[in-house]
Amino acid sequence: MEKPNPLESNQAYQDYVDQKTPNSPILKNCFFAFCVGGFICSLGQVIFEYAQSRGVDETTCYTIVSVSLIFLSSFLTALNVFNRIGKFAGAGSLVPITGFANSIVSPAMEYKSEGYIMGVGAKMFTVAGPVLVYGISTSILVGMIALLFI
């Protein structure tokens, strides 16, 4: 079969480029994401068990877990460590609440040079904004469905 000419059309070029471009190492990425994500969740569980063993009620325990992981993630972001973890952990550190904290702290740090109003204040949610908008919208929608039908 004759080799297609990549310069024939944009589509032909795109197909040709796709062949030339290496894919992300999905299996490796999944493995590390599983390990690191699992570790973060286990850490959350350890904090939960510890708080509970100290006689804290269950609802407060959940809050303590969230607050601790958010603090830890923000702290590591500030120390320039979280991005290194995220580089190989990918979704493993991004999906838990740690990723959310990182996505708010990192633009806050980056845009501090533009001041506390137009920099930190205005840009803090540039990455997390869509998650908040659609996350809250979805929860309202689900809440209304629950209210009406359940």
Partner: protein, 334 residues
């Protein structure tokens, strides 16, 4: 200056690259070309408060260094062409604001280095200037901030992504001087191959590089083996691979003596730079450091320098536009 072929120009007078200078950042210092750079700065902020100020400092210090190395006084420089990647080219204008040299801010994305030298050589050939300063810069941190994500964000980079080089490079062009001489100019056209992936700039720009390369050979009647070496700016591994492939298909095989500055500047295996270096500072520092040195020591006598640029910004990518590329070429001989 006379036009040859469809879009190339032969300079009538000698336009010599009198001197070059380059200053690079810490990652470039760890790369294979470190020994060729004039200065390597350990701190990406270089003592400044912001990335943008740091990049301006790279421009300022590099411009002052090249003037110092050339033995000229600032007042001897008739004009300056400079550009960078940051909105409205502020790194260049802020970096050069205290120099008191007539200033042209130019933008050709990562093709700016050759664009500035191309325009500068026209000015000298036409008798409009005796000495022209050309300067270019890019900074990994300011570029990431403007085009991508905050530095501390814990995301992953795809294998096709490139690493913006933190560097500034500059040249001084002159009528007098013993070379290397800029001989033929081939300004490039805007070529859009329809690539929309902002993480695959090499593929987006390869079409423009191919167009300029083939046009240069057709206009001059030369073949790739006329040159000792052909260098592109920042096509990276993927773009380089594509250009080798497609230039062969077009009847101008460049494979065996072609290199890409984005490939040369980093050690892919050790430095985790994926598809290689990019940014205006990439070809600017590799030419000003490595290539110029190799020409002075007669290792290369005739080279073709092609700088490639992706004419895009963060908004057009989000609006779903494709990425138009551009490539400007100059031939340099000793």
């Amino acid at each position: 200056m006379k036009k040859i072929g469809t879009q190339s120009y032969q300079l009538e007078h000698n336009v010599s690259i009198l001197e070059t200078a380059c200053i690079v950042g810490p990652k470039e210092k760890d790369g294979p070309l470190a020994s060729y750079f004039d200065k390597c700065i350990e701190d990406e902020f270089w003592g400044e408060e912001t990335w943008e100020k740091a990049e301006s400092k790279f421009v300022k210090e590099t411009a002052e260094l090249v003037i110092h190395k050339s033995g000229l006084a600032v007042k001897d420089i008739d004009m300056c062409f400079a550009g960078d990647l940051i909105n409205q080219c502020i790194s260049s204008s802020f970096g050069l604001r205290d120099l008191n040299i007539p200033f042209f801010g130019i933008f050709g994305a990562c093709s700016t280095f050759v664009e500035s030298n191309l325009l500068g050589s026209i000015m000298i050939d036409g008798g409009f200037a005796n000495h022209v300063l050309c300067a270019c810069s890019s900074h990994f941190c300011s570029a990431e901030k403007q085009f991508r994500f905050p530095l501390e964000l814990g995301n992953q980079r795809p294998p096709s992504s490139q690493w913006t080089v933190t560097a500034a490079g500059s040249t001084i062009l002159t009528k007098a001087g013993n070379g290397p001489f800029i001989k033929i100019l081939t300004p490039g056209k805007i070529v859009d191959m329809g690539i929309k992936d902002a993480a695959n700039m090499g593929a987006a720009m390869a079409g423009a590089a191919l167009d300029t390369l083939c046009t240069h050979f057709r206009d001059t009647g030369r073949m790739p083996n006329y040159y000792d070496a052909i260098f592109t700016g920042d096509l990276g591994y993927i773009g380089k691979d594509i250009l080798i492939d497609l230039s062969l298909q077009q009847g101008f095989p460049i494979g065996d003596h072609y290199e890409d500055c984005g490939v040369l500047i980093f050690d892919k295996a050790k430095q985790d730079t994926h598809s290689g270096g990019s940014g205006c500072g990439c070809i600017a520092s590799v030419f000003s450091g490595y290539i110029y040195h190799q020409m002075r020591s007669q290792h290369y006598q005739k080279i073709l320098l092609i700088a490639t640029g992706a004419l895009t910004n963060a908004l057009t990518s989000q609006q779903g536009e494709s990425i138009p590329g551009i490539a400007h070429a100059i031939s340099i001989e000793i």
